[in-house]
């Protein structure tokens, strides 16, 4: 088995620990030699990873832009164009596999696979271009996301998964917006996707599927939950009836099924996250059920104000929950999501409910104090969680 590449500091720590264990008689000399031989020190600067990923993302975006620009080239017809873009995509797939097979080029395999995923989108859009598929056909995004997911799982590579999950989320939101007859139906659709994502993350963490894939699913679930509660917090946007269509029933059954699967087979310490995701759906349903029809915060509107405060509480609870999970799992991206969500929410609501209660300089002072208090509370919460985790 080829030695696993780990950061030099971690290898140095391991050697120190092994020396200590050998001195204490916990392991013999042979084990103390054999264990570090399974690892090799490999320095991979964060900036290099960032540059490689960014370069691949820009190249992929450039390729799609090239397809979109539909350049006129003498003698090159629609079929030849598709063949050209498809050849680029397949060549990138082959190049990524060649990189993964070579120890020297292995760091390039992730960016190459990301590029191959984006080039696959280019091939889909070129095919659509060549066949004059109508504009804004969401099926193209769906095919891109599904193909990207298949490729990510086949290669067990995180970079294409991140791209595919992001494209899939974009497709889901576009389809939901198209199919939803009301803002309420849109918000509920967003909420129903949250247990599905949380359950997928829990199943990955349990080792049922590739464990490092849990992160992107957890992050997209957190973001969809933020979006659902963001919409619900505006009674005007969340108004309207929710029709019980076949799609809505399928989505609800899928959400329940995934949640049950995660409860039965998911990682034990992740079940609380799945439960929180189900709780979010129930909170959204409850808020939609009590949402007032017409709201004007400027007038005497006790119902509207009460509803807005309830919705705000639900939003803040969800965002703080994300931050807590991010801190506990040492996932700084989730903490960033929570901070970003709270900041955006408070900024937007400054012109909504907060703006209806306070105005002028008092508004700015209140929002400033609110943000400072939130930042302080989140930081305290994060430290406490990390201390508890360290003392466990």
């Amino acid at each position: 088995m080829a030695p696993q590449r780990i950061p030099p500091r971690r290898l140095a720590w391991l050697r120190e620990e092994l020396d200590g264990w050998r001195a204490d008689g916990l392991i013999d000399d042979a084990a103390a030699e054999a264990i570090p031989a399974r690892y090799t020190a490999a320095t991979r600067l964060r900036i290099v990873t960032l540059l490689l990923g960014l370069g691949a993302a820009l190249l992929g975006a450039g390729l799609i832009w090239l397809v979109a620009s539909n350049l006129e080239v003498e003698g090159i017809g629609p079929l030849a164009r598709f063949a050209g873009v498809a050849a680029v995509w397949l060549a990138l797939v082959a190049a990524a596999e060649a990189c993964a097979a070579s120890e020297r080029l292995d760091p390039l395999s992730g960016p190459a696979r990301l590029l191959a995923t984006l080039a696959y989108g280019g091939a889909i859009f070129q095919a659509a271009q060549s066949l004059q598929v109508p504009a804004f056909d969401t099926g193209l995004l769906g095919a891109w996301a599904a193909g990207g997911l298949l490729y990510a799982y086949a290669t067990a590579s995180r970079a294409p998964l991140v791209a595919a999950v992001a494209i899939g989320a974009g497709w889901f939101v576009a389809v939901l917006a198209e199919a939803s007859a009301s803002g309420a139906a849109f918000a509920l659709g967003l909420a129903l996707a949250v247990p599905v994502c949380a359950a997928a993350a829990a199943l990955h963490d349990a080792g049922e599927l590739h464990a490092p894939f849990a992160g992107p699913w957890r992050t997209v679930g957190a973001l969809l939950g933020v979006a659902a509660l963001f919409v619900v917090a505006f009674p005007d946007a969340a108004s309207g009836d929710v029709e019980l269509t076949a799609t809505a029933v399928v989505a609800a059954v899928l959400a329940v099924g995934m949640a049950i699967a995660a409860a039965l087979r998911g990682a034990a310490d992740r079940r609380l996250e799945v439960l929180a995701a189900v709780g979010l759906v129930l909170a959204v349903v409850a808020l939609l059920a009590v949402a007032p029809e017409d709201v004007d915060f400027g007038e005497d509107s006790g119902d509207g104000l009460g509803y807005a405060l309830l919705a705000m509480l639900a939003f803040v609870a969800w965002a703080v929950g994300i931050a807590v999970v991010g801190a506990a799992r040492d996932a700084p991206r989730l903490v960033d999501v929570a901070f970003g969500a709270l900041l955006l929410f408070v900024a937007v609501q400054s012109f909504g409910i907060i703006g209806s209660l306070i105005s002028g300089a008092a508004l700015l002072l209140t929002v400033g104090v609110l943000l400072l208090a939130l930042g302080f509370a989140l930081d305290r919460g994060r430290r406490r969680l990390l201390d508890e985790a360290a003392g466990r």
Binding site: E97, A127, Q132, V133, A135, A156
Partner: protein, 160 residues
């Protein structure tokens, strides 16, 4: 290593299948359909992923508004005209016509898969200008036996 290569090859094959499925509604009429000419009026927007296109509004016979259920997915739009056209779109209906040429459309007849003609940005602008000057255009459309349509080309409307 061999297992991963097999998995990647399988994933690529599935990706190709997904790609074909995504464009299938246009593929069938292109391969098996017959060509007809339809009267259109163009405008010029942009799709973020696919660039410039000419959005086409099809001329309707009898000032034709749909009589079909507007949320029904599959409705049928008969083509009205004589000989080799150009044709206009008739009223959308829920039942498939027993004879004559027709399109199978979604959104109560508003979406028949032939509403966008993609071209380079310069070409799209030129088409828009030129076709606007001539008071419309004729779209060359291929239609298969099930009424699925694919846009093949766009040409200026010839004066009568």
């Amino acid at each position: 290593m061999r297992r991963r290569r097999t998995l990647v090859a399988g994933a690529v094959a599935a990706q190709l299948l997904l790609l074909a499925l995504a464009v299938a509604p246009q593929l069938s009429p292109r391969l098996r359909g017959e060509e007809v000419r339809l009267l259109v009026e163009p405008v010029d927007p942009i799709d973020p992923f696919r660039g410039a296109y000419v959005a086409l509004a099809y001329a309707r016979a009898n000032g034709g508004r749909s009589t079909a259920d507007p949320v029904e997915d599959d409705v049928y739009v008969p083509l009205v005209g004589r000989g080799d056209g150009p044709y206009r779109l008739g009223r959308a209906q829920d039942e498939r016509p027993r004879d004559g040429r027709f399109l199978r459309c979604a959104d109560g007849g508003a979406s028949c898969g032939i509403e966008s003609f993609f071209a380079s940005e310069g070409e799209a602008r030129r088409l828009e200008r030129e076709l606007g000057r001539r008071g419309g255009a004729v779209a060359r459309v291929r239609i298969d036996g099930a009424g699925r349509a694919a846009l093949v080309g766009l040409e200026p409307r010839r004066p009568r």
